[in-house]
Amino acid sequence: MPRSYLEFERPIAELTSKIEELSGMGKDAGMNIAEEVEKLTAKRDILIRETYKNADRWQLTQLARHPDRPYFLDYVGAMFDDFQELHGDRAFGDDGAIVGGTARFREQPVVIVGHQKGRDTKEKIRRNFGMPRPEGYRKALRLFQLAERFGLPVLTFIDTAGAWPGLDAEERGQSEAIARNLMELSSLKVPVICTVIGEGGSGGALAIGVGDRLFMQQFTTYSVISPEGCAAILWHDRSFAQQAAEALKLSAKDLEGFGLLDGIIPEPEGGAHEDLEGAASLMGDVLEKALKELLTEPLSKLLDSRYKRLRAMGVFTEA
């Protein structure tokens, strides 16, 4: 599939097509063409570096939603072995917006759970654009509890615009399902490591995001509400999404500044969508290190530290 470009990536796209055009002219065109291609490629590399380094919060929002960005299952293929998907919540159905199962991560058996968007239209619909219904969260909870029973660490991967705001979801207790996961994850008796790999959309993200460590990839966002939703409520106009994105302070750097992150996972030059293997390897190294630390922690200390982390979240003063 051809690579898609965001609005602010257009200069990169233009340069890329120029390079392709020149390269296409082939050998007959002579030496100076090859030289030109080389020059333009170097220029493109610099442009990519600069564009991404200076991305503002609205551009980061778009990068986090980039149509070419690797999704959870792409990382499952690149980072894990022996994956066995486990389906369903045992009560209502199998939600395609959340995928989970057992796998091996650098030889260690683990349980992995992540949001899954869709690549083509058919899959997007099957996965409801990565927006889970209650049965998705209940499937996740079932897998968390399976992990607890067998002493398996849990790795979660967050990438959702939010929990599905539909009639069916309300009828089946969307709020209750999310709340239950927050409570049970806070006391799950195995290490839990959470990583934002795209969009961290509100309660729908947090419902698989409570753990001992929280990481964000470099070009991801995590927010209480989407910039569009925030703009609709506070500006009464969705077109103020850009201002809302700035106001919400939703970048990895912002969260690190609030003391909520254990680290920002670097992405390859030009973003994870330029190099899946590279992105998976950078992420894998960070997760492996965190997992090693947590696996040696006694249970009481693990749970104590997790509660203290949660307990300390918030900023206020006291008279």
Partner: protein, 289 residues
């Protein structure tokens, strides 16, 4: 002594935000039955329309006065103040919104904590104040709820949460989202300690508050006609592009769908809670050996 005499003894009017839709605040026109009711009479019936039973908004203060046994309760955890860690600004600065809310609804932020007796049971309670920025949950609300729960843990007493909230407070961004996790983690401690946790969901209880501690009680109750859910009706309508059925996300709808335990009339709440707490604290089987 019942709540009427308690109210009469109360030193000042504790009407709160209601009653402002009439010139002198003397009358309240019920939106449901359109009958005009004396504000005083409405207060005496706990802001429940004496004609049709419609549950109007009630302040945390008036609720507390009606809920606890006379002379047994006090305000706890006062003096926590919202900060502005994001330096948030939309059309208005968050700092100015806080200042305006303080003027309008008092400086307790959107939750008031109490310790008092209900039917003879000492109870730690957190009561949302909707008139303070729509009851939205930021860092102060999250902290007060956790302190209320911790008070239960210290005293070995039940915890009551009365919710009324539009959800998380956007102006505190990701920190307000994290209050969901923080309060839910503390709720687990209550469960582990075997202390009764009762939730009453009132109009409205939405978003981040409904999707965290408000739905984690051992018993989850709601007031008649209350709108309760994750996504707001407007968002749902726009997402699915269809009209919502009448009564969708109402307290009655939730009972029908098995999502809450029961709907309780505000005027009967103290007796209802006493009945529940009596049974949940007696422990006829010791569970030892």
């Amino acid at each position: 002594m019942n709540w009427i005499t308690r109210l009469i003894e109360s030193p000042k009017s504790i009407l709160g935000g209601a009653g402002k839709n009439t010139p002198e605040g003397l009358w309240i026109k019920c939106p449901d039955c359109s009958v005009a009711i004396y504000t005083k009479e409405m207060e005496r019936s706990l802001m429940v329309c004496p004609k049709c039973g419609h549950h109007h908004r009630i302040s945390a203060e008036l609720r507390a006065a009606s809920l606890f046994d006379a002379g047994t309760f006090e305000v706890m955890d006062a003096g926590l103040r919202s900060q502005d860690p994001l330096e948030f600004r939309d059309k208005k600065k968050y700092r100015d919104r806080i200042r305006d809310a303080d003027k309008k609804a008092g400086s307790e932020d959107a939750v008031h904590n109490y310790l008092g007796d209900i039917g003879g049971h000492t109870v730690s309670a957190s009561l949302f104040e909707f008139s303070y920025m729509g009851g939205s949950m930021g860092s102060v609300v999250g902290e007060k709820i956790v302190r209320g729960m911790e008070r239960s843990l210290e005293r070995g007493c039940p915890y009551l949460l009365v919710a009324a909230s539009g959800g998380a407070r956007m102006q505190e961004g990701i920190l307000s989202l994290m209050q969901m996790a923080k309060t839910s983690a503390a709720a687990k401690k209550l469960q582990q300690a075997g202390l009764p946790f009762i939730c009453l969901l009132t109009h409205p209880t939405m978003g981040g508050v409904s999707a965290s501690m408000a739905w984690l009680g051992d018993v989850v109750l709601a007031e008649p006609g209350a709108l309760i859910g994750f996504a707001g009706p407007r968002v749902i309508r726009e997402t699915v592009n269809q009209e919502l059925p009448k009564g969708f996300q109402s307290a009655e709808f939730l009972v029908e769908h098995g999502l809450i335990d029961d709907v309780v009339d505000r005027r009967e709440l103290p007796a209802y809670l006493k009945n529940t707490l009596d049974k949940l604290t007696e422990r006829p089987y010791r569970q030892v050996g």
